[in-house]
């Protein structure tokens, strides 16, 4: 299973991304991400958020590929469903950690 994640926008307008194969991660980390993916159940339209009056928020793009199955979602800080938030926060943390190492 592969996860492709992008965070864009924000006050700085910078892109931070993560492209990770779950099998390449340590077991505990892969298990944690699978759990968050299951909890997220992101059956949402793959459209950018339309928060017309929000300025400088982050936008997120997430694509999960597993065999022939692909699912993607776009969301923003203020429009994100609660169920998706723990997954997005964890992917953001991983992306930020990786850029600094």
């Amino acid at each position: 299973m592969r996860i492709m994640f992008e965070q864009t926008g924000g006050l700085m307008g910078r892109k931070t991304s993560l492209n990770v194969e779950l099998d390449s991660l340590p077991d505990a980390q892969a298990r944690a991400l699978r759990l968050l993916l299951n909890q997220a159940g992101f059956n949402l339209p793959d459209l950018p958020p339309a928060d017309d009056s929000v300025r400088d928020q982050f936008h997120y793009k997430l694509q999960v590929e597993s065999g022939a199955y692909t699912q993607s979602v776009q969301t923003g800080d203020t429009s994100m469903p609660d169920a998706l938030r723990p997954l997005i926060e964890e992917l953001t943390r991983l992306a930020r950690s990786q850029q600094s190492t």
């Binding site: 864009t8 929000v54 300025r55 400088d56 928020q57 982050f58 994100m80 950690s97």
Partner: protein, 376 residues
């Protein structure tokens, strides 16, 4: 004996009225007498304003109504209320920075432009600090400001960002998004979006300059001062003075902002590069302020404020803004004034020609062609 109260005699009428409404008896009497005194000593304005501010810490700007909440590292807004207007400082520096930063922003708009808060009707200034964990950002959600703590969740050696309330110009930037929303309401895409961002940078920088009482040539013109940790090679996230030079770092890369139309970045990311191309109008403003000298909010700031609140619309382009600032300068300072010439210079330095010049040049071209019998 008539005592000449120099503290108040340079004070603009709107401020005197505010003091009359909200000051102590002594201050009220002083302000009333001053309003009757027609011999305003404009040349001493700044010294006197500083003294006024020091004597009226609470009464002046009494329209201020600030509330700071704590999201406690979650995402629910506004969170738990920590500090309201006039309440004692918190033990939490982020709370006090948000509170004080809102105050400084209110003061710029009130004292320099006679504006009462974001909506010019005394709107409550709501801030939430400690939004999420490891949140490298601050945003305006349409009703309030939201601030993250930066990279507090990473090891010190990996941290790039400090908490976002540390930067006064960032606080001014976010609040100005509210002002723009209530005025021109510039669309958040392509050139109108970059103008929206630029207005926030311009007034964000002016908030800091006003708070520090800095002249244009003393200011750093940086947005995001203090935001980076010592692990980053950079002074902030943007520079109005020299777009493209704010940072050049092994992890963050190089500041991508252009300072000239020839380098305009066409992209679909970030709503058409709203945080990138804002460098162009940002630099135009800087040049105008540089040309005029003195306090940037007094002339360049007034021209931009008038343009934002009276002339721009949701779809205004860079060229529209250039022409409208030129018009605003004529209305405020006179056609052909030094201020109007400075506006022309500002836009010329970023590669934008005013419509008036285009028309004049076309007129010259047409007359030459006509004299040669090549055009009717």
């Amino acid at each position: 004996m008539h005592v000449h109260h120099s503290v108040l005699c340079i004070t603009p009428p709107h401020m005197l009225n505010q003091i009359i409404r909200n000051g102590t008896d002594e201050q009220r009497n002083l302000a009333q007498r001053t309003l009757l005194d027609s011999q305003a000593m404009r040349a001493r304005r700044d010294t006197l304003r500083q003294r006024l501010a020091s004597t009226l810490p609470v009464q002046v700007g009494a329209g201020k109504n600030r509330v700071v909440y704590d999201a406690q590292q979650g995402s629910q807004l506004p969170g738990v209320k920590i500090r309201g207007e006039g309440e004692q400082p918190s033990e939490d520096p982020a709370v006090n920075e948000a509170y004080d930063g809102c105050g400084s922003t209110y003061d710029l708009f009130f004292f320099a432009f006679n504006r009462d808060s974001i909506d010019n009707k005394g709107l409550k200034l709501i801030s939430t600090v400690h939004y999420q964990q490891g949140y490298d950002n601050a945003f305006w959600d349409g009703e309030q400001m939201v601030y993250g703590d930066g990279d507090e969740d990473l090891p010190i050696t990996q941290r790039l960002f400090n908490r976002f309330t540390k930067s006064l110009d960032v606080i001014g930037h976010e609040l100005t998004h509210g002002v723009t929303q209530h005025e021109a309401n510039l669309a958040y895409t392509n050139q109108p979006g970059a103008l929206n961002e630029s207005m926030s940078d311009v007034f964000g920088s002016l908030v800091k300059q006003h708070q520090r009482k800095q002249l244009a040539d003393q200011a750093d013109w940086v947005i995001g001062e203090g935001l980076f940790t010592s692990n980053v090679n950079g002074v902030g996230i943007r520079s109005l003075k020299a777009p493209g030079t704010a940072y050049n770092d092994s992890i963050l890369g190089k500041d991508p902002q252009p300072a000239h139309m020839k380098d305009y970045v066409n992209t679909v990311e970030d709503n058409g590069g709203v945080h990138i191309n804002s460098g162009i109008p940002n630099h135009a403003f800087y040049v105008v302020a540089r040309e005029l000298g003195g306090f940037a909010w007094e002339k360049a700031g007034r021209i931009w404020y008038k343009t934002l609140t009276e002339k721009l619309n949701a779809n205004s382009s860079f060229a529209d803004t250039a022409n409208l600032t030129y018009q605003a300068a004529a209305e405020l300072f006179g056609a052909g004034s030094l201020e109007q010439k400075a506006v022309k210079t500002g836009w010329a330095e970023v590669g934008i020609t005013l419509a008036e010049e285009v028309a004049n040049n076309e007129g010259c071209f047409s007359s030459v062609m006509r004299s040669l019998g090549l055009r009717s």
